[in-house]
């Protein structure tokens, strides 16, 4: 009995309160987004807010039950749970029902369950179990491969269901790996690749080359203050550009200035690389490599985008990056969403007074675009509050994870934090036009049983782990 008491006393009530607040705010906004004068009872089960009450009640029971289960259960059964979910992900490919183009639903009578939602939690458990196991070292090839298998198994299965949004969530685990020792370089490159990808599409080759050159020069300056070497390298570089340029003039090949710049950058980079290797300047080698890689990457992104992507994919990416605006086509959802949020002003139009969301101008307004209702009816005051609440929760989770004594609990805590973070980033980012329209729900807010339950399980398992952190570890 004392042990049981322990758990209740040690529960992090702050996290639970944040959870309850978000769930409550979510529900009143779902009510507002589907509100109509004909259906006024909040328990009207034909309406989404009525159903959501059932989902919430069930979620609270689930949360309560989770707190009752012993910590060891999660540790012991983590692989089994993972295995079951992988099985379900495979099963849904065969017997699942397709909704909105994604074959990811089991339909049982009136209710639908999405195994991919629960797979996040299972993957988190498996990852925590594996990474906390004895002999795990992230730098080891075998360990890294195992992690990749654990993460990419569900990712690929979900991609097969044609649910790209849910699959992308798994990339957020890179932050967990980073916390557990993955080299910062990997994180850096991941970030670099993303940025290059975006900028390559956004800006012309010419600008890209100029920016990359300046970045490279900047990097040289930081890495090695020895003026002599710097001048040598810079002159090699400039000479090779000049040579090519003059050659181009003499041969009258009529290459455009951007093309000249690209080719001469590659040549110049290669010459510098060769020189650095000979002189064994390690830092210069890295900079030269990164530079060359970046140049090649941005050119190929540009090429791939224009020649390999289907037009509707191009449209979506263009829309996101603000290159082309087709407000009635690909940009419609985001535009309407921005109108809804933008029209809210400081204090919003008032509860149930939203016109954008109520009259269906915003699509999916109770699920993926629930944040629009917040923006429209509660204004900046509302959106600010929600963003801050999420930030609070995320940072709280990081702190809770850090205070865990077992690796399992800490790693699991981080997976919870990064999964929630990814959803938060992509969902809100998409409603305000900073992210592409990737259909993933806003945790605790969006309508839907599967997502609410899966996030509840995800969070409450960690709350339970945290509450019992002072117990002797089973292993």
């Amino acid at each position: 009995m004392p042990r049981r008491n322990n758990v209740w006393v040690n529960i992090d009530w702050l996290t639970v309160s944040l959870y309850l607040m978000l769930v409550f705010l979510g529900w009143i906004n779902i009510y507002a987004s589907v509100y109509s004068e004909e259906h006024q009872s909040i328990f009207d089960l034909s309406q989404r807010y009525g159903k959501q009450i059932i989902w919430i009640s069930a979620a609270l029971i689930i949360g309560f039950v989770i707190l009752l289960i012993e910590t060891n259960f999660y540790v012991f059964f983590s692989y089994i749970i993972f295995g079951i979910l992988v099985f379900l992900l495979i099963l849904v490919l065969f017997v699942g029902t397709e909704i909105n183009g994604a074959k990811s639903w089991f339909i049982l009578g009136d209710f639908g369950i999405q195994p991919s939602e629960f797979a996040k939690f299972a993957t988190g458990l498996a990852l925590a179990r594996y990474m906390s196991s004895f002999g795990f070292k992230i730098q080891r090839f075998k360990s890294l491969i195992t992690i990749v298998v654990i993460v990419f198994l569900p990712t690929i299965l979900i991609l097969l269901q044609n649910d790209t949004g849910s699959a992308l969530v798994y990339f957020s685990f890179i932050l967990v790996l980073y916390r557990e020792g993955l080299s910062g370089v990997v994180l850096f490159f991941a970030l670099l690749v993303t940025l290059l990808f975006v900028f390559a599409l956004l800006f012309s080759n010419f600008i890209m080359m100029v920016v990359l050159l300046l970045a490279a020069i900047f990097a040289f300056l930081i890495l090695n203050p020895r003026i002599k070497q710097f001048v040598i390298i810079l002159s090699i570089f400039i000479v090779s550009i000049a040579l090519f340029y003059v050659l181009n003039l003499i041969l009258k090949t009529n290459y455009k200035i951007a093309e000249v710049l690209v080719v001469s950058s590659i040549i110049g980079g290669a010459v510098v690389l060769g020189y650095s290797i000979r002189k064994k300047f390690k830092n210069y080698i890295i900079v030269a490599l990164v530079f060359l890689g970046s140049v090649l990457f941005s050119i190929s992104v540009d090429y791939a985008f224009n020649n390999m992507l289907a037009p509707h994919h191009q449209a979506r990416i263009n829309e996101l990056l603000g290159i082309q605006s087709d407000l009635l086509g690909a940009g419609y959802n985001v535009n309407q969403s921005k109108i809804a949020i933008g029209s809210g002003g400081l204090w919003g139009k008032g509860y149930l007074q939203g016109t954008q969301t109520k009259f269906n101008f915003v699509p999916e307004q109770s699920t993926d675009f629930i944040f629009c209702t917040v923006g429209e009816e509660w204004g900046f005051a509302g959106t600010f509050t929600v963003v801050v609440l999420f930030l609070f929760l995320l940072i709280r989770l990081v702190f809770l994870s850090e205070r865990q004594r077992s690796g399992f609990s800490r790693i699991y805590g981080y997976t919870v934090a990064v999964i929630l973070f990814f959803h938060f980033m992509v969902n809100i980012g998409m409603t305000i036009g900073l992210m592409p329209v990737i259909g993933i729900p806003l945790p605790f807010f969006s309508y839907g049983g599967s997502s609410l339950w899966s996030f509840t399980i995800l969070l409450f398992v960690f709350i339970q782990l945290d509450a019992s952190r002072l117990e002797n570890l089973a292993n």
Binding site: G342, S343, G344, Q356, G379, F380, F390, I432, G433, L434
Partner: protein, 605 residues
């Protein structure tokens, strides 16, 4: 184990950065950029115009003349249209399949989301059946409008008609939008601003499919339509109908005025048309039929036709002579009948004649002598002419009277410069312009002007601007209609002239046939030469002699002599107005007048 513990700050940093980026972006969206509010409003508000009913028009005895009847426009929202039975819809609407298809096509070109008018002005009868079946046609709905309806077939020119607003009106007045109705002629045009009322707006919320979801702010921002004001016309519809009946199969005009007020009692322009032809969907085809009719039924002769006043103008010339004291009541001029120079006299009467006799007998030489004396009184003929012309102007000749009708003709009264141009300055004299003495030549007077001129005589010197509306609901009529305007003749000179006009209807006078028992009518016949056919028959009169209640001008085109048609018709109108009936011994005259057909331009002398 916690070797990498510090990395939590990097992770927290990433979290916080994203959160911060969101807050900055939200700040920009929600607080800095006002355009989204406008977009949101445009998205959800649909303004539905509420068309007011036009004001009603009554006659002077409060008989309803013009009212409204509901009609319905069939609207279409192309994107909501599902497959439907076109043949059935065409049958309901009484239109051809081609009309329906072109209508739908142009609606699609305008907008797939917004309603546009597919079929205009469906009658309530067709609407009843259509409404029952409309549920079968998704994407169609109706909008109610009001159309003019006329209780009589008379007074078409007075009442005017209403039609769709034209491009220029839309450009000049932002009240009007495409598809609105506007008064195009008559009272409906003259009192457009009062009759039209004010359009209202109902604001509705619409959803993304443009379906109405309820009223905006519970209708707080709605502007209710304001019904047009009713107006009471000065017309006596019974008199009007009677006058029109007398004018059947004739061309010409009657304008009857109440001298003491300037109110127009009747205004006929013959041939006329049934005002009911100018409404509904048949309007377009009726209009072009009327427009191409050689008898010009759409032409409002009362206001626009310019006829020489003929002998009726002699009264004014004698009044001017008296006022200028070039003649007196006792002045006698001899008349040599057809041998008279420079103007022969066609009226056989004794000689010499004085003022009263000259009017009674319409003696041309008397007028020639009077006219010459007026012009010669001054240093130059031109000065004399200008004096003479000023008198005419003061009687409303040669200028617009300023009635409430928007399309008055000003007639013609040449300027001195006109003659200077033709004959050269100083090279013309009374002889040159002698036709003016007997109301011929360059003079042109509209029936309205002549009626007004007659009213001045009836009033012994003044007139109120003739007008067609006497009351407007909650509004004063124009102040100018209540102001006396004086002709430049002193009251004392009228009596002998009026006596002459009275005697014209005595036995032996120029219009003895038109004498009304027991009523002292004063009149003057006239005949206007007409190069295109028989001369026009003219008569102006007022009655009773003392405290006149009606003054009128009657033109009967190709009526040969003033006394032949115009005078009898005038006498019948006066008798009808004053006694409400026609005395039995004049029934034959009434019959003759009604049956006469003068549509042929050439009539036996």
């Amino acid at each position: 184990m916690n070797t990498y513990s510090k990395r939590k700050y990097v992770i927290i940093g990433i979290f916080a950065t994203i959160g911060l980026v969101f807050i900055i972006k939200l700040f920009g969206l929600q607080l800095l950029d006002p355009s989204f509010k406008q977009f949101a409003t445009n998205n959800v508000l649909r303004e539905v115009v509420q068309y007011p009913a036009r004001g009603l028009v009554y006659d002077r005895n409060n008989k309803l003349l013009v009212f409204n009847k509901a009609a319905y426009d069939l609207m279409i929202i192309p994107r909501e249209v599902l497959d439907f039975d076109t043949t059935y819809l065409c049958r309901l609407l009484e239109i051809s399949k081609e009309e329906l298809e072109t209508g739908i096509k142009s609606a699609k070109e305008y907008s797939r989301y917004k309603p546009s008018i597919l079929v205009k002005q469906i009658s309530p009868e067709s609407y009843a059946t259509l409404q029952e079946q409309l549920y079968k046609f998704k994407g169609f709905h109706t909008q109610s409008r009001t159309l003019r309806e006329y209780s009589n077939k008379a007074a078409a020119h007075v009442l005017g008609y209403v039609g769709e607003v034209g491009v220029n009106e839309i450009k000049n007045d932002e009240y009007y939008k495409i598809g609105d109705y506007i008064g195009i002629s008559g009272i409906d045009k003259a009192y457009e601003t009062q009759l039209r009322g004010n359009k209202g707006v109902k604001k509705y919320f619409v959803d993304v499919h443009n379906r109405i979801q309820g009223s905006y702010k519970n209708g707080l921002d709605d502007i209710p339509a304001k019904t047009g004001k009713n107006v009471t016309s000065t017309i006596d519809i019974e008199l009007q109908q009677y006058a029109e009946k007398l004018f059947q199969n004739k061309k010409g005009s009657v304008v009857a005025i109440e001298p003491s007020t300037g109110e127009i009692l009747a205004m006929v322009s013959a041939p006329s048309y049934d005002p009911g032809l100018m409404v509904r969907r048949v309007r377009g085809s009726n209009y072009s039929k009327l427009l191409s009719d050689t008898l010009k039924p759409l032409f409002n002769r009362s206001l626009l036709a310019e006829y020489p006043p003929g002998s009726t103008y002699k009264v004014l010339n004698i009044l001017i002579g008296l006022q200028e004291q070039v003649i007196s009541i006792n002045t006698h001029f001899s008349c040599a009948g057809p041998e008279s120079v420079p103007i022969r006299c066609t009226h056989y009467h004794g000689s010499p004649v004085e003022v009263i006799g000259a009017i009674r007998e319409s003696c041309n030489p008397f007028l020639w002598n009077t006219f010459r004396s007026i012009l010669r009184k001054y240093e130059s003929i031109a000065d004399g002419y200008n004096v003479w012309r000023e008198y005419a102007l003061s009687f409303g000749v040669g200028q617009k009277l300023g009635s409430d009708f928007t399309n008055e003709n000003k007639g013609s009264l040449p300027l001195e410069s006109y003659y200077n141009r033709i004959y050269g300055g100083g090279h013309w004299n009374a002889l040159t312009v002698r036709s003016l003495a007997i109301g011929q030549g360059e003079l042109g007077v509209t029936p309205l002007q002549m009626a007004n001129y007659c009213a001045i005589i009836a009033n012994r010197g003044y007139y109120y601007i003739p007008h067609i509306v006497k009351e407007i609901e909650n509004e004063q009529i124009d102040q100018s209609f209540k102001t006396k305007n004086y002709g430049k003749i002193s009251a004392e000179y009228y009596e002998p002239v009026i006596r002459g006009m009275e005697m014209a209807l005595d036995p032996g006078g120029s219009a003895e046939m038109s004498r009304i028992p027991d009523i002292a009518m004063c009149g003057k016949t006239g005949t206007a030469q007409n190069p295109q056919g028989s001369a026009h028959s003219i008569f102006m009169a007022f009655a009773p002699k003392e405290n006149p209640r009606i003054a009128l001008s009657v033109y009967v085109e190709n009526g040969v002599w003033g006394s032949r048609y115009a005078a009898p018709i005038a006498s019948l109108i006066v008798e009808k107005y004053l006694t409400d009936t026609i005395s039995p011994n004049r029934k034959w005259l009434e019959n003759v007048m009604i049956k006469a057909n003068l549509l042929n331009s050439f009539q036996p002398e």
